[in-house]
């Protein structure tokens, strides 16, 4: 039997990488899924993937939105509720990423952008979704954190504080909304994400060393490994788990990085940036 039959899920940043894996996995588990991204062109690749899942096309809806703009991302929640008759699950996966810079050089605008697309986006979707979840007798919210928050990754202070904020938000949401049976958790992935794949094309040797160093000797597959763990948190099995941060990372968080720091001033999507456990 499918695990999310009759459920309505929202996935932000759903056209690539981990978000894409979650959308596809949830559709296969019977959920209706509204997913968004900033760039509508990125959805073109999703169409055949969704068409390949039997009966999924009618349960999937793409909505173009910038998660860093309150009206837009809250609009996604309201549209999803209207389309599918409610909201049960919100996966706050999207995150805008600024170039790596030393703290003393990082412009305020980078902090503002990273916080808006990471922390505020998680806050805004939660605020918008809560009334719908209360109507349905409960719900699940999943926020996203990162090893970089734990490690204090150099030159990514904006990213690290944003992810740490998501963890703290998760705990407070869990405390405040548990009485409504709304369960809130945070996940930390080590995923073979879109950004990591791009990064690996230019840093193959380093990435192979990183992967060897992970206890499970690989980056997580977005749909099988990362979305699998998220599915556990939003399915029946996760019904008593709330306020936690769970590492879906093959044990990467337990071991020391394979290589040292990345350099300041690089764009982590295209540059020579080096990460302990991958770029999400």
């Amino acid at each position: 039997m499918k695990r999310l039959e009759g459920k309505v899920a929202i996935v932000t940043g759903g056209t690539q990488g981990i978000g894409q894996g979650v959308v596809l996995r949830f559709l296969k588990e019977g959920a209706s899924v509204a997913y968004c991204s900033r760039n509508a062109k990125n959805n073109e690749a999703m169409v055949p993937l969704i068409a390949a899942i039997s009966g999924a096309a009618a349960r999937a809806r793409y909505i173009q939105a910038d998660v860093g703009v309150k009206d837009q991302i809250q609009g996604v929640v309201h549209q999803a509720a209207k389309l599918f008759g409610g909201v049960d699950i919100v996966i706050n996966n999207a995150q805008g990423i600024a170039p790596l810079r030393a703290i003393e050089e990082k412009p305020d605008a980078d902090y503002a952008m990273t916080l808006a697309t990471g922390f505020y986006h998680s806050l805004w979707t939660g605020q918008a979704a809560l009334p719908y979840m209360k109507q349905r007798g409960g719900g699940r919210i999943i926020n996203c954190s990162s090893h970089w928050a734990l490690q204090g990754m150099p030159y990514a202070s904006d990213y690290a504080i944003t992810k740490a904020a998501n963890e703290a938000l998760t705990r407070t949401m869990a405390n405040e909304w548990g009485r409504f049976n709304v369960l809130v958790n945070c996940f930390v992935p080590a995923g073979d994400s879109f950004a990591y794949k791009q990064y690996k094309t230019q840093n193959r040797k380093l990435c192979e060393a990183i992967e060897r160093n992970i206890p499970m000797s690989r980056m997580g597959d977005c749909e099988t490994d990362i979305a699998g763990g998220i599915l556990g948190l939003v399915s029946e099995n996760g019904r008593y788990i709330t306020g936690t941060t769970i590492y879906i990372d093959g044990g990467a968080w337990l071991v020391h990085p394979a290589e040292g720091e990345h350099e300041a001033g690089t764009d982590i999507h295209t540059g020579r940036a080096q990460s302990a456990t991958g770029v999400h």
């Binding site: 009759g6 499970m216 763990g229 709330t242």
Partner: protein, 287 residues
């Protein structure tokens, strides 16, 4: 067996599952060994795994309780067998795990639920024997069962090990220093196994419960009704955990395809209770 929540107003949807429908075959074809199933946590997980299609080997000293559990599982259409053993005794865990794998032809999941609470007593007064008993049964029993399971799991390309902490054994609590110390040794063992056995696709986690609706907790609750009701009111989910549905559900997450990339961690299946550790103001009291 369920405790009535008398003085705590029930959350409006406390017993209604988030999803009414339930997959019933998440462990189809798998074999799970459970050490300590005479206790309520191991029992709940065994019942849940059996419902999901796993064949269950119950490893314990307590024949009466386990025979009854085997019957209960079989009556519900499941498959289970009892292997009498004391995992704390040298050699017994190895024999029992080998027997479990031999009985059903493979071993995929090992659940260690051996927590013991011999006394509620302040750290200054607690006898060393309690610490020794706890370390021997819980830490060494778990260690021996885990090592015995690895060759069997490698034969089938991987496995899952779920070590179950005592309620509050991870977050800590007054008067159970033996359980807390032992559970942190279990956390260390869990991490070390995760790092070393990941390459065999063997995943190891620590499952952490808090307030469960189980007989072991009923006397404590009866002795401390106001305090326990206060704890429940602090919990995000405001209800006691059910050993089969709540704790068993989290164990299932870790044992099924959902948990295929999660290892080395404490997983709190506690209704969010761990968040409120800082707020605890318990009175020292003996059970």
């Amino acid at each position: 067996m369920r405790l009535a929540l008398t003085s705590t107003p029930a959350a409006p949807n406390q017993r209604r599952a988030f999803t009414e429908k339930m997959a019933m075959d998440q462990l189809k074809g798998k074999v799970a060994a459970v050490t300590g199933p005479a206790g309520s946590t191991g029992r709940g997980i065994a019942l849940r795994f059996a419902r999901e299609g796993a064949k269950i080997a119950l490893i314990d000293r307590d024949a009466a309780k386990c025979d009854a559990l085997v019957k209960e599982i079989q009556t519900a259409g499941g498959t289970a067998t009892f292997i009498r053993a004391d995992v704390a005794a040298q050699g017994d865990a190895q024999r029992a795990i080998d027997a479990a794998a031999s009985e059903y032809g493979r071993l995929d999941v090992l659940v260690n639920s051996n927590w013991v609470l011999r006394s509620f007593m302040p750290l200054l007064e607690k006898p060393e024997e309690d610490f020794k008993a706890s370390m021997n049964a819980v830490f060494f029993g778990t260690l021996r069962a885990m090592r015995a399971a690895v060759p069997h799991m490698r034969k089938v390309g991987g496995g899952r090990i779920i070590n179950v902490a005592a309620p509050y054994g991870y977050t800590s609590f007054h008067n159970i220093a033996d359980a807390v110390s032992t559970d942190w040794s279990l956390q260390g063992l869990t991490r070390a196994a995760a790092v070393e056995w990941g390459k065999y696709q063997i995943l190891t986690n620590l499952l952490v419960p808090a307030l469960l609706d189980i007989p072991e907790f009923q006397q404590y609750r009866a002795d401390n009704p106001v305090y326990v009701d206060g704890l429940i009111k602090q919990m995000p989910l405001r209800r006691l955990g059910d050993p089969v549905e709540d704790l068993g559900g989290a164990a299932l997450l870790l044992a099924s395809d959902e948990g295929c990339f999660i290892t080395g961690q404490p997983i709190f299946s506690d209704g969010g209770q761990h968040l409120n550790t800082a707020a605890f103001k318990p009175r020292a009291r003996q059970a």
